[in-house]
Amino acid sequence: MKRLAVIAVAVGAAFAIVVPLFLKPYGIYLSSTWAVLTIAAMGLNLTLGYAGQVSLAQGAFVGIGAYTTALLMHAGVPYPIAFIAAGLVCFSIGWVLGYPALRVQHHYLAFVTLAFTTLVFLVLRNEEWLTGGTYGLSGIPRPVLFGWSTNGPVRFYYFSLGVLTVLATGTWWMLRSPWGRAFIALRENPIRALSLGLDTRRYTLMAFAIGSSIGGLSGAVFAPLVQYIEPLSFALNLSLNLLLMVIVGGSGYFFGPFIGALVAVLLPEWLRFIEGYYLVFYAVMVMVMMAFCPTGILGLVERIVKAVSVKRSPPQPALQPEGTSP
């Protein structure tokens, strides 16, 4: 099982590195979009999949990150600093947004974060002196890093893939640290976690803040990718789509967001022939999946692999529970 997973990840990584070389510019652009969406969904997976806090605000954080980056770059700040600033701004706002999560759970939290997303959208649209209102911000330059320009589709794709790799490694490391364990404890049984001496208050805020800051960083990559941002891109729809990506891929699975974002990017392209109905198809797919396999695509894969391996080898007396071995 574990070896299989390693092979799958290696094949996936090879694909991500090699395939875009053979694509037309539009295909490479889609690949970069995939990388950006994966980063954002990975942040949400941390908040939702691991810490169990429903958030409909991830799209807003992508927006805050993108606007922060664009505004700072227009002011002449170098990209790396703008990038870090986007993460820090979203970290602090995410921390504050975490406070309602201490008071309320589940659907209430979904509504608070939904309200937050709408408020951010209104601010982006109405504060023209800062954000350019409905006209948005244009002319965001592609950054030059250590003398290496990211201008050009393939170059920018590798830049976004690089950011994705760094953030994914960081997230992976964090999830294996005591913090990651604490997040899972928060999801599984908050009251028990509290009784075991876990500072649930701090960890809830932390889960929100870190997940949001990763969303902000994805916005910091998104802004130079599209080079033009406007409020509508970060309305409630984006947050809902990111939520669906996490769930479709498999919430609480590390690679769930990677798969979910891939489906969200590829599906409209593959389903060109049914034109406007592709979202109808997507919606039906999500509903069917929720009815039969609410753990998402990776949950389904895990179930199939388990069924096959159980058939092949007779049941062992002491079965290691999945996901607990390192």
Binding site: Y99, H107, A110, F111, T118, L122, I191, L243, Y282, V286
Partner: protein, 291 residues
Amino acid sequence: MASFIQLLVSGLATGAIYALIAVGFTLLWQTSQTINFAQGEFVMVPAFFILEAMYLGAPFWLAILIGIALSVLLIGLAFKLIIVDPMLKHGVLPLVISTIALSLFMKEMVKNLYSSNAQPFPALAPPIDLHFFGAVISTQSLVVLAVAISAVVALHLLLHKTRLGRSMQATAQNPTLARILGIPVRRMVLYTFLINAVLCAIASILISPIYLAKFINGETLGVAAFLAAIIGGFNQVRGAIFGGFILGILDNLSAAYLSSTYRGAFPLLILIAVIMWRPQGLLGRVEERTV
């Protein structure tokens, strides 16, 4: 003062519609822990059933009846049997995701079948302006108020004065005990879904002449219903009614007197305030948390 009365009446009319939608929303929550993210689309779609029936040659009154019947069948019965029932065993979150997907499905279907243009929808009353103390009030607002209030009163009578209604309340409050007392719990839950469909259809008939029938209408209406339900109190029908009226009036008054560009923000700020200081809602009861 005249404009204040005008705003108040139109706020009450919008609020009455919000209240209808929010009441259905809380009914589903109370009896089956269904948080319906497609509630706004449930209000958007019946208008298109009615338009379709009229297109096929039915007179308006018959089209309304057909629209309500189709709503009961599709967004009541079919929703319950196809979407909610298979999902309940998985818990709250998968059902939430599923209703989000359902709202996407309904929006896209209407957009594909009907184009994204707004369709005109006939009003229940001829638009005559009445003058009271200098304020101009349209008959439409009054009709909306009258229909919505009678629907709410009828629902109240059903829930509190009939055996059926009391059985439904018992189901909402304690399903296990209700079953022991011999109440057919499953059928009662189904009834709340049918009632929700009727309320949504009525709201659709009332609001479509004002907003026109458009695939995107559900988004604002759905959010308004959530807000009303949470502000008033999720576990109380009268809370949802109260929340709906507050929201409608506030929306109209704040747009006129405070800031029209931030019109959408005031209800959200109130929502956040309510959740922070009185999470059970202004009229709600505290629900015990189970370990």
